[in-house]
Symmetry: none
Subunit: 268 residues, 2 copies
Amino acid sequence: MGQTNRIPLARERRLEILADLEDQGAVRVTDLAERFGVAEETIRRDLDKLCSEGRLARTHGGALSIRSQRIDLPSSVRRNEHSGEKKRIARHALSFIEPHDVLALDASTTVLELVCLLPDMPLTVITYGLDAARLLIDRPQIHVISTGGELDSKSVCLLGPLAEATLRQFTIGKSFCSCKGVDLERGYSEASTLQASIKRLLMQLADRTFMLADHSKFGVRSMAYSGNVQDADVLITDEKTDKTLLKSLEQAGVQISVAPSARQQIAG
Amino acid sequence: MGQTNRIPLARERRLEILADLEDQGAVRVTDLAERFGVAEETIRRDLDKLCSEGRLARTHGGALSIRSQRIDLPSSVRRNEHSGEKKRIARHALSFIEPHDVLALDASTTVLELVCLLPDMPLTVITYGLDAARLLIDRPQIHVISTGGELDSKSVCLLGPLAEATLRQFTIGKSFCSCKGVDLERGYSEASTLQASIKRLLMQLADRTFMLADHSKFGVRSMAYSGNVQDADVLITDEKTDKTLLKSLEQAGVQISVAPSARQQIAG
DNA sequence: TTGATGAATCACATATTCCCACATATAATC
DNA sequence: GATTATATGTGGGAATATGTGATTCATCAA
């Protein structure tokens, strides 16, 4: 009846490899050859084919998931404007995170870049973004808590009173968030009142709030305001942001931290 | 099972092929040719025809089900491929859902199959499974609410007091869930106490509970019990489940609903 | 730097599977 | 019964997939 060990089709094997890659982040030629009972050369040909299709990144001895590019997250991260700056800002923000921190993260694409970079270390992460939670599954040392809430399909996150009530239940050490716009006088703004509301809460509840805003956010006023510029303790931005603007913000009491440019980052 | 002595017609054979594909995710030309006692070329023509109808994906040496191709589905759904029963049970369960229902869904793979099949219609869905929520994003008519909770990386869901507290806040019309095991005397069981606890709650809170359990679940006793067999109002299972067992369950007061077999379903 | 080790590459052999044209068989229609 | 239309079987060359072994390359540690 049930033929248990059916020899998989070539295509099936490749799909399995991709699935493995998604689960584990990396695969080795030797392991795969043994697992499927085929020659290593066959696996190499599989990997090369998948690589040429852009579905994985080839390495010596195996392959890596293109997770770093986040291709499996449809809308949110992939077509991400200014992703270079966001990534650099995220990397810079990493340096403010220490073991055993209790973090609250928003659902912005910038913070999602930060999540991708988070190493597996003892942390508690509270978030209302579905993708952030999903991404942290493979980091066993990170204790992840998701708020409840009503699913916002546009930004793939959980909003509303339920989400805010959940957040209030926690003592939050550091919160990392981004925004739609920063204006010296009017403060931070968001695309909807619900978004603004939860972001305001995030800033209120955390001991320290880190606002991640690339240069394109400055001078922008979006629909709903979530707080004054002073409501964030540290504002992390990139080198393209106008220096005089940053001076004014510093005078307003915001600590400014500028992520190094691509060149500096590589050099350092 | 009912093997007629008549040589199957082409149409009938193709339905069988599709049924196989549903069950196993992949078929190979050689196996099918042998099974039906026809030339391989005949099977190839079958597959080509079904492929041109978009009902399967042709590969070298055989064919893959359409679904196993879709990389955008969460791995939990794709990896679940080898269980056609779950899919059929899910399809059957669909018939119990009506517009404007308020549903609570668990995070099992069987229910995830149901989520994949859910049409875009006016519904409220409350769930503690991340993948269920993520999948429903592209159904604008469905109002999705996620519970909060601590991320359980094994089953990709949110558990704990936070999750249960969220559930209690809602009036739930129908709940759909699955289980690790069903035993006539001991009832439904789960792999962990946390899982059992939230499932118990799901059954308590809903006006009607639908338990989705394929034949492999019967007679199984997993670690933690979540309720008596009577705690579910309707038990949906497949044709392979022992009929006398089902009779006993009916006598215990559980309404039984059997999903049609693959051939019946595809033919219809 | 220099081996040592494992991996990648390449060329070649082999085995499957596919494709196509053609022949045959079966069913449906008039 | 004759005539289509549909299904199926057959055979050989083409395409694909896989395995093998020799050689080159990459990486890392001493």
